[in-house]
Symmetry: C2
Subunit: 297 residues, 2 copies
């Protein structure tokens, strides 16, 4: 099947690399709005609508995907990783409408959270209804928190690590994780003021145990250039415990691996005339499989 | 929905208890071949075919389910936990035929292995195709191995624990687990002979590091009457690692929890005219969910 990638950020680069190595897939190309070597211009994507079996959309959830996925889902089978949890139902509806109109299949909000972690929460809630269900994230880089720090006056660059306390079993969500920030400040910036602004930032940092370290651009590049992440979904009713653990050196590589498997599923669903939008919770795992599922039972 | 249980062993008792506590379910009754208090006679099960929304079949995989599931699937929505891995494809075919004939829905081979562990293996194979995939079982009681010991001349009762070595990463499957056996022998039995027969038993024990302890009936009852189990499915490609862990005080309780959730799914699938046989790999998790899946995304 011919798969194309839209967007050439970290996620898009990982997706293109994985598609190239997948025996049952061919990388049709990477579409980008920026005029970069070895990319196809995004403006011309409609010209290829009959040549591509599925598109992997690697845009951001804040601005790109809410518009791009419904627009493209009318003309292509698509997969996205829309991850604003509170808006998934609305996104699903928008995409479902246009995919149904065009007779295409869209898999939305694929990845590990939302995605694999969502599946684990739903299985756990069904199987252990009286269990205590918790999601821990990290240790890993949170792009959203890093971006929030970068918007503060006087900040040149920043990297925020979310660090879970797996031993914490109380009910205060702010105690499950602490936050560690590595910040490059402008030469004449008021570091005390930056630190105060970070630690008191509503939703992102206020209420959390937050540490702020000022570092040089070189140190940030050398020691904090990767995108490690991971986490755990744990459900325990005192008698039975089920747990999903992820430990990722590269969050974009792992997420892209899920998107590529979902592109296979989108193409297969569409081949069976199953059109409209699906989340991973609407999708039997059979559609992701490379081989005979009975061999893996 | 009205759910009935077939069989009153450990699994059936757990399933009946869970159905009773499930707000969206009513326990129609427990069918048994043995004439026991509070059970309905299995011989008369056909009389109730229009009153039951799904049957949870709690028979054994060796003798009961290969016959019982295809027979009942023509007349009821059914769920079973057929767990002879090598024969699942054949069992699925048999059940599919009769469920299709009767316009009913059957979920076969539900549980944790096959079941949740199968799902995890299929997800891992799709997402990390270059990963090393391993399944560890235990520490827990293996019914199959315990039964195999019980069949040896001079053995009154036995309990076999499968004990994983999570640190073992080599390629010899016999090194991933060791086996510990607690055996009650007849008074005049040749214990050395029993131990030899256990340790050299093909498939079950030969090749494994096996310890045999002779104990009294009282000790077996006091210290080994439970059915703890668990295990891990691990997939690691050196960059990303995903892992599903289970730790169960009661294997029957946890397995029954899965069967009960699958009974909900069988009923719902049938209400949508989705008939025939399904494994958990053919089933979107949405069908198991108690609430709105978007709340758990």
């Amino acid at each position: 099947m011919k798969i194309a990638v839209v967007g050439l950020g970290n996620l898009g680069r990982s997706a293109a690399k994985i598609v190239k190595n997948m025996p049952d897939m061919e990388l049709f190309g990477v579409f980008s709005r920026r005029n970069m070597p070895d990319t196809l211009p995004y403006d011309e994507i409609m010209e290829y609508k009959n040549e591509i079996d599925a598109l992997i959309l690697c845009g951001g959830s804040a601005v790109d995907l809410p518009v791009m996925t419904p627009f493209l889902a009318e003309h292509f089978n698509v997969v996205d990783s829309f991850d604003t949890h509170a808006d998934i139902a609305k996104h699903y509806e928008n995409v479902n409408k246009s995919a149904k109109t065009g007779g295409k299949t869209a898999l939305v909000s694929c990845g590990w959270d939302p995605g694999l972690f969502s599946l684990m929460r739903i299985y756990a809630d069904a199987i252990l209804p009286d269990g205590k269900l918790r999601t821990y994230w990290g240790k890993g880089v949170s792009q959203g928190h890093s971006d929030a720090i970068r918007k503060i006056d006087g900040v040149v660059d920043a990297r925020q690590y979310t660090i879970p306390d797996y031993n914490y079993e109380g009910d205060n969500p702010h105690k499950m994780h602490r936050r560690e920030c590595f910040v490059v400040a402008e030469n004449n910036a008021d570091k005390a003021e930056i630190e105060h602004k970070i630690k008191t930032m509503p939703k992102y940092f206020a209420g959390y145990d937050t540490a702020v370290h000022f570092v040089s651009t070189d140190e940030l590049r050398q020691n904090h250039s990767g995108f490690p992440h991971g986490g755990r979904v744990v459900c325990d009713n005192g008698e039975s415990a089920m747990e999903l653990r992820l430990k990722l050196n590269s969050n974009p590589d792992f997420t892209a691996g899920i998107l590529v498997a979902c592109a296979r599923a989108a193409y297969r669903l569409n081949s069976e005339d199953k059109t409209g939008a699906f989340t991973m919770a609407d999708l039997p795992v059979r559609y992701l499989a490379r081989g005979n599922i009975f061999d893996m039972m």
